[in-house]
């Protein structure tokens, strides 16, 4: 029997949804291990956060008032203090950009077996974690040798914890040295002339377009359909379209009436940004591309053949 500690995540005054998903994953693991579930709120308005984090199944919330925004050194010290204070031997953290900025250091510092980006797990005498490999082409099960674990859990894989729990709320003071990494501000990217989040119809282009000069083809399609042009990450990384056109986890989340994915394989980071679209159409040569898993309509074919025909249909 051992307890589980979930570390929540917030940004600019708001708890992020992944916190509630991590609580759900933490509860599942605590049940399997027969232990209690602890949740930590670190930094920011911890009293308000503590109230929100007191979801069904949470046994204790620990409020660590220390700074406003994320500081990986504070988070690491907080987890260290809570591992001492509680009986937790397993830590669950969202597999987010900030999660990956401190979880590996925590695992290293406190000797926890680390598995990142978990999409499922089973606990039965030992821990077995399900995670993807090779860019989502396969899933694997991984046996973890040890009895103290740190799991980072992928967003969207567990339902957010709901309800109101009867957790105790405790304030925790944490000492930590002056941080050698200081947050000086935030910057919104992707401003500019077009807000793809406002569009009713998006024609979205991915790696399958191959060359910058081929973009003309999807621009013509967007024109013909009265649609706005958006893109997946590689197109923006290449500098072919500006950042404000990027759909996905690190770009914009869009929910148009119709989303037409052209030459986009559908990596999980991309899907996170467009799965809420009403109708999803995918055009891709690879019938196994994950984009077809969420598409409503699909054409398995070469975009260089299909797109010009589609433009003609609307000419």
């Amino acid at each position: 029997m051992s307890d589980v500690l979930v570390v929540s995540e917030h940004r600019r005054g708001e708890l992020r949804d992944v916190s509630y998903e991590a609580i759900e994953a933490g509860r599942e693991l605590a049940d399997a291990q027969g232990g209690d579930l602890h949740v930590a709120a670190v930094g920011g308005d911890v009293d308000r956060f503590a109230e929100d984090l007191n979801r069904e199944g949470v046994d204790a919330v620990h409020a660590v008032a220390n700074g406003e925004e994320f500081d990986h050194n504070v988070y690491q010290s907080a987890v260290g203090a809570l591992l001492e204070k509680t009986d937790a031997e397993t830590v669950v953290v969202p597999n987010s950009v900030n999660g990956l900025d401190y979880a590996p250091a925590v695992a290293e510092a406190y000797d926890l077996q680390l598995v990142t980006d978990a999409i499922g797990f089973e606990y039965d005498d030992g821990l077995t974690v399900t995670r993807e490999m090779y860019g989502s082409k396969v899933e694997t099960t991984v046996d973890v040798d040890g009895d103290r674990f740190l799991l980072t859990v992928r967003g969207g894989e567990w339902a957010p914890a709901e309800g109101v729990g009867d957790a105790s709320v405790e304030s925790v003071d944490v000492d930590h040295p002056d941080s050698g990494a200081r947050v000086t501000g935030f910057e919104e990217v992707g401003g500019g002339d077009v807000d793809i989040a406002d569009a009713d119809v998006l024609v979205s282009v991915g790696r399958g377009i191959e060359e910058e000069e081929n973009l003309e083809l999807v621009e013509e399609l967007a024109d013909a359909l009265g649609a706005t042009l958006s893109a997946s990450r590689p197109i923006v990384d290449n500098g072919w379209l500006p950042k404000n056109r990027q759909v996905g986890q690190s770009g914009k989340v869009v929910t148009p009436d119709v989303y037409i994915a052209v030459g986009i394989s559908g990596a999980v980071q991309h899907v996170a940004g467009m799965k809420g679209s009403d109708t999803i159409v995918a055009i891709n040569t690879d019938p196994n591309a994950p984009i077809f898993d969420i598409a409503d309509y699909g054409i398995v074919g070469d975009l260089f053949d299909v797109v010009p025909e589609l433009v003609d249909e609307f000419a």
Binding site: R11, V138, G239, S250, Y297
Partner: protein, 262 residues
């Protein structure tokens, strides 16, 4: 200042691949420099070109085959390379502490001021080695960096960290530090013919664990892959059949029904 760049040769499956046991069949895998590490190499080379870095050393954990990959880093401008391999790594799936122990020994030997690596490896996708290494060697760190400016005089790196939802965090990181580099940080160059020729003459120091003062126990993994399978397709997409003209015509009809028109 001296910059150490960690690079990995990653395996990429072909479109059609078979799973044999707990991995993809070797004949269905192609090997290449990890995409994220390509950006890290470019960042290091740009620091050298700007006169900020005096030396760029690339390090990899990989078998002899990986020399091709690390030579790519040399062709793009790294000064020399270290390749660590040992029979102990053949045993299976290296966990984060195994890589950290190896890189720690290389850091002790090389004494860099800055360590750059990709956010994650395209094949295993752990995204953890850089930050864990920083903790082990007592360096500061920042993960998922997509903008980088090094002020060597002030011994600080000004970085942007790419958070979710189109927000970047602006952070100053004291050196020495480990930074994990996100794609899009820069435009990785193609190796020039001259670069490729020069790379042939650059030194690749092949070492094993004993050379680094380590033993097989230091890289024993606590993780074992017990199964690998293709995820079940949950697709309920209506696949539109026919040649390009026919399928485009069907799709156009669907789109018009949804109210799409110029």
């Amino acid at each position: 200042m001296k910059v150490l760049v960690t690079v990995k040769e990653v395996a990429e499956p072909d479109d059609d691949f078979a799973i044999e046991g707990t991995d993809i069949a070797a004949s269905d895998l192609e090997y290449d420099l990890n995409e994220w590490d390509d950006y890290a190499v470019e960042a290091a080379v740009q620091l050298a070109e700007a006169g900020i870095a005096d030396e760029v050393v690339a390090v990899t954990i990989g078998p002899e085959r990986a020399e091709e990959t690390i030579r790519m880093a040399l062709a793009k401008g790294a000064d020399r390379a270290v390749r660590v391999w040992d029979d102990a790594f053949e045993a299976g799936f290296a966990d984060v502490p195994a890589k950290v122990a190896t890189f720690e020994a290389v850091v002790e030997a090389e004494e860099p001021d800055l360590v750059l690596g990709g956010v994650q490896a395209a094949d295993t996708g752990f995204g953890a080695t850089g930050v864990a290494l920083a903790e082990r060697i007592g360096f500061e760190h920042a993960a998922v960096v997509n903008d980088l400016e090094v002020d060597a005089d002030a011994s600080v790196a000004h970085v942007h960290r790419e958070l979710e939802g189109g927000v970047e965090e602006l952070t100053e990181v004291d050196l020495p530090a480990v930074l994990t580099v996100q794609t899009g940080l820069n435009e990785p160059r193609y190796a020039s013919l001259r670069g490729i020729r020069q790379a042939q003459r650059k030194e690749i120091d092949a070492t094993d664990l004993a050379d680094l003062g380590l033993s097989a126990d230091d890289v024993e993994s606590s993780l074992t892959i017990t199964s690998m399978y293709e995820p079940e397709s949950e697709s309920d997409a209506e696949i539109i059949e026919g040649d390009a003209g026919e399928s485009a015509s069907c799709l156009a009809e669907v789109l018009r029904e949804k109210g799409v028109s110029a």
